[in-house]
């Protein structure tokens, strides 16, 4: 059996466990000796992991498949969160409506900023989107009906299981979306743009439309995650809805897991979030976690630029040869 198949089986079992564990009552799970998801902390971590799977997969669609490294995706998360906040508190409508509106708002914003910004490439695009991410947060921070600097408080819904399933469902949606995209004409168009945009244009790829569409899909997914986060956390402000560190994290996860792949962002999100939770014990621990993440990113980008998915499940064996080969192939 190949390494890839083993990985699939393990991933499938883990997924089944994560999905099924909360189905049984917490007491039953404890008696059965299943530690995961039986206490609040683990529920919180599992929901957070699912949230980052959505964000990393969303980023992967624009950054990994299309090759446009966005540092402003967190704006979509924030807009989704604030859409939920406004719908639930200011308009007194049910949360379900927020779940529908959040991706629409985020995607619309992606079209508005995407059309001018997606003309830029490389660092220029990265810096411009970073600017947008920060700016949207600052603007919302100064709008009185949106709670300004105080933030918005949403009525609390006490159901860890509900939010876990919502996030998990969105994460599965994000992974499926990527999987479908990679099997369609649209997906090939995105890859062509990433690999050589001018060549893509002269063989008939409508590059502007494709890029904006990819940005839109990424935004919609990220927006849903934002909306769920808002209701789950029941408090949002500029710091937790528009955190640039979240944006850095989703990029790290996609890069470490493997950009351009379906399961890379999932692997990256799970492993990195667990590492972060482990390292960030508070106090001086969080400093080491930051340093550790930085070192990890540097090592990954240099030695396994195609991500751990390719590293463990790819064509090659685990060997020095793999490192030498990828170094040769990816350094200009």
């Amino acid at each position: 059996m190949s390494v890839r198949r083993v990985a699939y089986v393990v991933a499938g079992l883990a997924l089944a466990f994560v999905v099924l564990a909360p189905l049984t009552s917490i007491d039953a799970a404890q008696q059965a000796g299943l530690p995961l998801l039986t206490d609040k902390l683990w529920f919180r971590i599992a929901t957070t992991v699912a949230m980052f799977v959505v964000m990393a997969s969303g980023w992967n669609i624009i950054g990994g498949l299309t090759g446009y490294a966005s540092f402003g995706n967190v704006a979509f998360f924030g807009l989704g969160a604030y859409t939920a906040g406004v719908v639930v508190t200011n308009l007194n409508l049910p949360f379900a409506i927020a779940l529908v509106l959040a991706p629409i708002v985020a995607a619309t914003f992606a079209v508005i900023v995407g059309i001018p910004l997606l003309r830029l490439r490389g660092h220029y695009f990265a810096v411009a989107t970073l600017g947008v991410g920060v700016a949207v947060g600052e603007v919302i921070n100064n709008i009185e009906p949106l709670g300004a600097a105080t933030g918005l408080f949403l009525p609390i819904i006490r159901s860890d299981v509900l939010f876990f399933y919502l996030m998990l469902g969105t994460a599965i949606l994000a992974v499926l979306t990527t999987w479908v995209i990679l099997r369609t004409r649209f997906g090939y168009g995105l890859l062509a743009i990433r690999e050589n945009e001018e060549a893509a244009a002269v063989i008939g790829v409508n590059t502007t439309f494709y890029k904006v569409a990819a940005f839109c899909i990424a935004a919609a997914l990220t927006g849903i995650a934002g909306a769920i986060f808002a209701q789950w956390n029941s408090f949002i402000n500029q710091d937790n809805a528009f955190a640039i560190s979240d944006n850095v994290q989703m990029i790290l996860m996609a890069v470490i897991g493997g950009t351009g792949t379906v399961l890379g962002p999932v692997a990256g999100a799970i492993s990195l979030e667990l590492i972060i939770q482990r390292l960030a014990g508070g106090g001086s621990g969080s400093v080491f976690s930051q340093i550790g993440l930085g070192v990890l990113l540097a090592v990954c980008v240099i030695f396994i630029p195609r991500g751990v998915i390719d590293f463990f499940g790819g064509r090659s064996k685990l060997s020095l040869r793999y490192f030498r080969q990828t170094l040769r192939e990816t350094s200009a």
Binding site: R183, T184, R185, Y188, G189, L191, A192, E195, N196, E198, A199, A200, A201, V202, I203, G204, V205, N206, T207, T208, G260, E329
Partner: protein, 248 residues
């Protein structure tokens, strides 16, 4: 009515007149060679036709309609394929996938699905002589093979007009012969060709007409053999003194 008509085309880059009023026509089934010294504006001309540059003045007509200023993908779907002088493959894809991209996006009319496009690629790869290397990653291809791949990707679009930008540059004599054969096969399949080339053997070998550009202007136009003997052409390439010394 000609297939492609370029009229009084000009394009400036800052203070440089890359194109300064170029006019020519290409008939259906024609093979037109464009030659000229470095910096004469040959590639700029191709970039204007394929829509990568927007010309400053002048017009480009495809049959009866103007295609000036259209987006590159629209021009591609009208049936104009092109290659790049410096090859631009999609590096993470195989030879077959690269070629399939042309069939997937460049066809006018009915859209192919990825599977059908891959089958289409196999047919085209046989025409350009890459059939046995279809599963190779692009990075394993030699320079002449990469040039062939450029042609294959453009051919997969089933273009009516093919713009070839120096597909023979950097090839040795044997490879040039093979590439010439390939261009003849493409011509015989009914595709109209405009090719930029420095290798005179190619111009004489396949072109029905040759157009010489110099400083963004048309210098001479006519049958290749006559054009290459023209004193103005020799001057442009080798200097006035050399041309004078050659006078009988």
């Amino acid at each position: 009515m000609s297939l492609l008509a370029v009229r009084d085309l000009s394009k400036r880059f800052g203070g440089v007149n890359a194109l300064a009023g170029v006019t020519f026509e290409v008939e259906q089934g024609d093979v037109l060679g464009i030659i000229g010294p470095n910096g004469a504006g040959k590639t700029t001309l191709l970039n204007c036709i394929s829509g990568l540059y927007r010309p400053d003045t002048g017009d480009i007509r495809w049959e009866t309609t103007s295609i000036r200023g259209l987006a590159p993908y629209r021009i591609a779907r009208l049936g104009i394929g092109r290659t790049f002088q410096i090859v631009r493959p999609f590096p993470s894809m195989t030879v077959r996938e690269n070629t399939a991209m042309g069939a997937l996006f460049g066809r006018p009319g009915a859209r192919l699905q990825p599977g059908a496009a891959l089958n289409e690629a196999d047919t085209v790869l046989d025409v350009v002589g890459l059939g046995e290397k279809r599963q190779y990653p692009v990075l394993r291809l030699t320079v002449p093979d990469r040039k062939r791949l450029e042609v294959a990707r453009a051919l997969a679009m089933r273009p009516r007009l093919l713009l070839l930008d120096e597909v023979m540059a950097g090839l040795n004599q044997v490879e040039i012969e093979q590439a010439l054969e390939m261009v003849r096969r493409v011509r015989d399949s009914g595709v109209t060709i405009v090719l930029i080339e420095h290798v005179m053997k190619v111009i004489v070998g396949v072109c029905r007409r040759a157009l010489v550009l110099n400083f963004g202007r048309t210098l001479v136009e006519g049958p290749p053999a006559e054009v290459l003997k023209d004193r103005r052409v020799i001057e442009a390439y080798l200097g006035q003194r050399y041309a004078r010394d050659q006078e009988p």
